[in-house]
Structures are given as C-alpha cells and as structure tokens.
C-alpha cells in the first residue's frame, strides 16, 4: 500500500501547487487574459477527452459538444435549481463560504459527469454497429438533438438558457485550480492507459477492428468504455464552464463547437495527448490573439482558416503525429543543441 501513499502525496503536492498558482493568477493577471486561459484549459480538456474516442480507439465522433452541454446543464441545474431545495434541510450546502462552494462544485461535477457518462453509454452503444461516416453523422445528429432538447426545456430557460449561475469555489479564485486539475486528470489517465498493455488494445481497435477481435480483444467493451470515459470528462468540463462563466445557453454548445473540438484532435495528430493539449490552447487563443484585427473583424476567421489549411498541407500527420512531448524530449533537445554548439565551436 506504500504506492498508494506515495501516489496520494504526489497528488496532494500537485493539487496544492495548482491551488497556489490559481490564487496567484487570479490576483495578478488581467481578467480578460485569465478568462482566455480558463477557456484554453477547458478546450484542451475537451480535446484530450475526445482524443480517447477519436484518436485512440478511432471512432470518428463529432458530437462532443453534446456531452459538454449535458454536463453544463446538469451541473448548473444542481446549483441553481436542486441545491436550494436540499439546502433547506442541509445547511452545509449553503454557498458563499469555501467549504460550501467546494462541496457544491464537487456534487455538480459528480452529477454533470455522471449524466454525460450515461449519455455517452447511450450514444456509444449504437456506435458498435456504425463506423466511419455513418458514426460521424450519428454523433453530429446527437449533438443537435441535445441542443434542440435544451432549447425546449423551460425549466432550464429554453432559448435564454441559465444566467447568474453562482461562481463557486469562492468567487473564482480557484477556477484555474479546477480547470487545470481536470485537464491533468484526463491527460494522466490517457497517458497511464497508453503505457499499459490494456491501452495497446485500444490502439489496436483503431488500427484494425477485425484483427483485434481475432486476437482476443473485446472490441465492444473497448469502444463503449472509450465513449463513456471521454464523455464523462466532457461533462465535467461543461460543469466547470457553467460555473466560471456563470451563464449558459444552448447556442454555445452548437455544432461549430463540436467541429472545433474535432479539429483540435485531428490537428493534434490522432492519439497524441500533448498534441491535443497544444491544439486546444492554440485554437482557443488564436482567434483571441487575432482580435488586434479589430478594424477587419470579418477577416479574423479567414486568417484562422488559412492557418488551419496551411497546417494541414505542411503537417498532414498533425502537430505531433503519434509522438508525445515529455520531459525526455526537452532533455534530448538540450543535448542536441549542446552537441550542435560543440560542433560549431570546433
């Protein structure tokens, strides 16, 4: 059990560091940049979680915003609609203090990701029979079904959506803590899985389903697990989005968002976690960075699209291809540079 203790200590250290960073960021970074950073973190989490479905098990799903929406709405519904009912009996559910905020955010996260996981199970199951284009159409349709359903539920505001969702975790001081904590969790999960024999069977399903089946891989189970785990994390990102941006409506979970997340995964190089993180940050920050073109607003998306096209032409395998950037790559880069310096010194 020593390993469990060392794991727990490691996790505690990371969480403490994240918390400190989060508080520091809140007080030292302009709100605008801070919000962009949070948005980048959420986008990267969405990309890494979709990567489990698209990049690793090779199921072309393009409805990820649907799971994101389910998480956001269920999480917000807890805080705004259900929590007040329970809080009458259970005073610790009152918000406004750090413990109460954290407890509520955890409950919202649990409910939001559970709802998204169940949705993932429901959508993932027909995916066993469909592949390629057909699965893409099914998932795209599913995303729209979710959006239109939300549009028509009056309890969650219909077309107006929900506004004034309380910012939990003590007025957003800990926003970065939660967002980046979630990103680290899904990235570590993927990395650990990929380092195991079990993870290789996931890649095998992407490479050749018939052959994996013949080699004893329960492909059904792999594909459904990927769907459920991927959508769980998308749901959790949705909960965080709802609570830090305090307002949600169905139009921010539309098809364009789904396609953007898919683009990130494709751009990352299918399967690469670090690639997905980089793509998540880049594609979220780029439109913001292009805001200096304010007199030419209409050209912003043109520049953006051009950048994507150039990328696809020059690096069709994605930013990183199948590779990962780790600490080791920096060491190797450093050594190569030093070697280069020594050579040129001669």
């Amino acid at each position: 059990m020593l390993w469990l203790l060392s794991r727990a200590l490691g996790a505690a250290a990371v969480l403490f560091g994240l918390g400190a960073m989060s508080v520091w960021l809140t007080h030292n970074v302009e709100t605008y940049y801070y919000l962009v950073l949070i948005q980048c973190g959420i986008a990267a989490t969405l990309a890494v979680s979709l990567n489990l479905i698209n990049g690793i098990t090779g199921q072309f799903s393009i409805g990820h915003a649907g799971f994101y929406a389910v998480g956001a709405y269920v999480g917000a519904a807890w805080t705004m609609l259900w929590r007040p009912i329970f809080a009458k009996e259970l005073p610790w559910l009152e918000i406004g203090s750090l413990p109460g905020d954290v407890a509520n955010l955890i409950i919202a996260l649990a409910l939001g990701s559970l709802a998204a996981a169940i949705t993932g199970l429901i959508v993932g199951t027909p995916s066993l029979r469909l592949r390629g284009d057909y699965l893409a159409i099914l998932t795209l349709g599913f995303g729209e079904v979710i959006r239109v359903t939300l549009l028509n539920i009056d309890a969650v505001g219909g077309a107006r959506g929900l506004a004034g969702i309380p910012t939990l975790a003590s007025t957003g001081d800990l926003a970065a803590f939660w967002v980046f904590g979630l990103l680290i969790a899904v990235s570590l999960l993927t990395r650990n899985l990929m380092q195991s024999t079990r993870g290789l069977t996931w890649l095998a399903v992407r490479e050749d389903e018939v052959a994996s089946d013949a080699m004893g891989v329960d492909t059904t189970r792999v594909k459904v697990t990927a769907f459920v785990v991927g959508s769980t994390f998308a749901g959790a990102s949705g909960v965080l989005y709802a609570h830090f941006f305090t307002g949600i409506s169905q139009d921010i979970f539309g098809m364009d968002v789904s396609i953007m997340i898919t683009t990130m995964v494709v751009l990352a190089g299918t399967g690469s976690v670090t690639g997905a993180i980089i793509a998540g940050f880049a594609l979220t920050a780029m439109p913001e960075a292009l805001r200096f073109l304010k007199d030419f607003k209409e050209y912003r998306m043109v520049v953006f699209s051009l950048a994507l096209i150039i990328m696809m032409l020059t690096r069709p395998q994605g930013i990183l291809g199948h590779a990962e950037v780790g600490f080791g790559s920096f060491v190797r880069l450093y050594q190569r540079l030093r070697l280069g310096v020594r050579r040129s010194a001669r």
Binding site: W3, S196, T197, L200, D213, A214, G216
Partner: protein, 256 residues
Amino acid sequence: MSELLVTRAVSRYFGGLAAVSNLNLTVRSGELVGLIGPNGAGKTTVFNLLTGVYTPTSGDVMFEGKRVNGLRPYKMARIGIARTFQNIRLFRALTVLQNVQVAAALRARQGFWSAVLRTPRQVHDDAAIRAQCMELLDRLDLAPYADTRADALAYGVQRRLEIARALATHPSLLLLDEPAAGLNPNEKSELMSLVERLRDEFSLTVLLIEHDMRVVMGICERIYVLDYGEIIAEGAPDAIAEDPKVIAAYLGTEEA
C-alpha cells in the same frame, strides 16, 4: 490422439450461395493438416466459421469436445483458436512488439482501472507480458524489429509477424491462411521449417490453407480438398496428388 476440432455438417450460405456446405472436418491434437482448393472454394470462409467471424447457417463446430458455434471472435481466441489473415491485417501504426503485446493482452488479468492508476501489480504484470512477448519475437527471429512499425517491415517479415501475433494468444489450434502467399522460394522454405518447428515447440495443432503445392505437400500430414464449398477429397498428400477428382477440380476438366 484426441480430436481437437470437429465440424459436423457445417454449412454457410450467403444469400443463395452455399460458400461452405455440409463440412465435416476432424483435426486431432498435434496434427498439421492442409486445406486446399481452387480460388473461391470457400477455404477462408471455413476459417471465418471456425473463428466466429461468421456463424454457421447450420451444423456444429466442436472444439475440445464443446460446441462453440456462435461465440464471438474474441471468445474464440480466448479458448485457444488463433488465426492469421490471407490479406495481412497487422496493426500498422504499432510496433512489432506492440502488435504481439495486443494479442498477449488476453492473458492480462488487470482491468481498466488498474491500468489508469498504474498499480504496482499492473506494472509488474505488464512487464511480465512484455518479457514473454520479447521472448516470442526472439524465437521467430523478429527481435531485431521489436521497435519497428509494422507497416515499415518487408512483406515476408510481415507474414512472420502475423504468425507471431497469433502465437501470442497461446493457442492450441493455429489457423494459417495462405502464409506463403507472396513469399519468394527461399522464404517459402524457411516458412515450412518454421511452421514445423513451432508446431513442436508450442505443441500446436495447425490447420493451413495454401495454394503452393510444394509447401502443402511438404509439411502437411493430411489434406482436405475443398471445391465449391464441399470436401471432395481427404487423405495423405501422395494420395491427394493423384486423386482424379482433385486434378479435375484444379484443371477444370471432366466436370459433369
């Protein structure tokens, strides 16, 4: 010798086409049996029936005395039936070692959560599987390619990796679908001795589809001949080579 695989009047129809009809095979433990026949005779369909890719329209597949038709392919692999593919189906973007590890994963006892948490037992088991796989690669002279991507291998090496991957499931019955196709005469001779050696070293039973008569006649102890989905002859290689029905099927003469 005990009967490892028995098929009882197995038929498979595709629409009106009887791809395999009334198939009665018996393969005993330790045998090396050939399955030959002209193109489209239904040989690969037989393999697909034995590995659960197709379920028989009628009849029973018995393996180790148990009725196994209707099992999904991954279950077939887990009870000890492994195969190679006629048109190579490797995990192309994975390395040679990883290809074999995927097949060995059916023996991994750890689930998704221990993989995600990297429990010590999981790390230990994975290392053991990896070591077993390296040893297997070594026995098939594939160790030098362990870290090479499968799609970067020469054709003959890919064929050998197909066999290694099937062996990693620790099968008792190995089904080889045209393992010599596309190999040069040298490689074919090597393949023949490899199959015989593996059969002995891994105490396998082998059922082999092959078009190359030198290979079939050279290593098979018994041969079934399939034509239009039906067995038209069965026996020792010499007898098969002289059987008029077989000659007719291959040359297309004397068809009634």
